[in-house]
Amino acid sequence: MSKATVLVLSAALWGAPAFAQVDFSGEWAPLYHENGPERLPGPELGDYTELPINDAARLRADSWDADRISVVEQYQCRPHGSDYALRGLGNMRVWREIDPATQRLVGFHTHMLAWDSERTIYMDGRAHPPEYANHTWQGFSTAVWEGNMLTVTTTHLKENYLRRNGVPRSDQAIVTEHWMRHGDYLTVVTVIDDPVFLTEPLVRSDNWYLDPGQHIGIFGCEHAPELPKPEGAVPNHLPGTNPYLREVSEWYGLPYEATRGGAETLYPEYRLKLNSYKAPPKCDRYCTCTTLFDCQLR
């Protein structure tokens, strides 16, 4: 190469813009150091604590019968929505998609263990689909950078749940996520705006640890009739008849009203209304629970 060419190339490269991005790629193992019993073996029936739900959500949840998952065949292989998937069996793989022509980030892809769910988080500025487009379990996600934090907006979600004991999340919800990577830790804050079932946004956060040794297998699911029920049967509890709603209150000594959830119960001053709380003499349910394999009922 001649001196001239080198000089010209050097001038062209001087001042080339930096790419300002954080890479979330990798195998992420979920940490269940919060809400272990709810996220692993599953939430107790009637436990609506921590949720700023309205009366409609409460009645839906009270009416929900777990039999629906097996009797209604179409429920058997129903995945978590992309918002709830982050809280469940959340072993996750993330990888980037780079445009080969521009070498710019097109988006991130995620693969979750549960139901092999995959999602694309678009970062190329494309618009969300129109309101009459079909909804999916993962929804349609776009994202922007805010410094080192990725803010994701998801619309077009199918109806799903805020908690898998029947508390619903509607198909009109908009979900915002904030992804933050600190070394080998990933924190995702999820903000659910649901005008149908929430009186204020539900803000939760989950954590992962980078685990290069993780191998996510195939989840797999086949649906089949399991019980001889009449076609079209939809198991549900009529209003006021669900016999399980007071169990949480009895097991944990909580006032029944507190277990019904609602925005008021999320704030510190609500503790003044918990005077009737009487802790059981000792723990006898899920006293240890940090992984799927050490979470024992007793």
Binding site: H33, E50, M149
Partner: protein, 260 residues
């Protein structure tokens, strides 16, 4: 001559297209000036996780979600609030590794240009996050305290192995950090929750504070808390706690520590 003239023209053209180098900003004089985001103000915890372990004192032996060692479990099962009260140790669950999980309100201010102060209403605790502190100063501070000694920095941008270099395929300057990173040591032994799961005086506490503004305009911050205590924990104990900003001090109700 022609060759060098042509080269000069090419360089000048490239320079003209790229423009002159941007003026480098002056380095900030102190941590307050360098703050990429503003954490000051009043904040309220919104308990959407671990509700029955935070809003009330859980039953003895209820250590769900905490990866305790056998030793930690044994100590936790020996929890005796009456004994703690008698010993004046009501604040054992209000140490730095746990105080952010207690439902309450915080007031964040700059104590000085290089110290961010967190006052909690529950337990009336004060945390001082020292920017620019040297590690040596922390090791010389003596015996542990409930809040320990916290060294803070604004999280530096992600970098490659080498120093950032410009050019094709070289290491690059990462995104501007917006996080507050805090490492706390010199802690007095305490509890991770009100019902006694322990952490030792050798605990290293790492925290990351991140700010966001939601669709309805509400500012929130999340603090990711990593408690490293091999004596009592089989692995780092990681939680993330969410706070919503308040307009004012409404509801900030100082209350003494409680062992029960």
């Amino acid at each position: 001559m022609t060759k060098y003239l042509l080269t000069w023209v090419a360089v000048a053209t490239a320079y003209a297209q790229l423009g002159p180098a941007p003026a480098k900003p002056k380095p900030p004089r102190n941590a307050k000036e360098a703050a990429p985001v503003d954490f000051t103000g009043y904040w309220v915890s919104v308990v959407t996780e671990d509700w029955r372990w935070r809003m009330v004192t859980p039953a003895k032996g209820d250590f769900a979600s905490i990866p305790l060692t056998a030793e930690g479990r044994k100590l936790g099962n020996a929890w005796d609030p009456a004994k703690d009260e008698a010993a004046g140790e009501q604040c054992r669950a209000y140490g730095a590794p746990a105080v952010m999980r207690i439902p309450g309100r915080l007031h964040l201010t700059w104590a000085d240009d290089n110290t961010l102060q967190i006052d909690t209403d529950q337990g009336t605790q004060t945390r001082l996050l020292h920017f620019g502190a040297s590690p040596n100063k922390s090791t010389q501070s003596g015996s542990g305290t409930w809040q320990g000694y916290s060294i803070a920095q604004w999280e530096p941008p992600v970098r490659g192995v080498q120093s950032p270099q410009q050019g094709l395929g070289a290491t690059r300057e990462g995104a501007r950090g917006r996080s507050l990173e805090v490492v706390t040591t010199l802690l007095r032994p305490g509890y991770l929750r009100k019902n006694g799961p322990p952490y030792s005086g050798n605990t290293v506490l790492k925290e990351f504070f991140d700010l966001s503004v939601e669709r309805n305009g509400d500012p929130w911050f999340v603090v990711t808390t990593i408690v490293e205590d091999p004596q009592n924990l089989t692995e780092p104990f990681v939680t993330s706690t969410n706070f919503k900003k308040q307009r004012d001090a409404a509801g900030f109700s100082p209350a003494a520590c409680s062992a029960r």
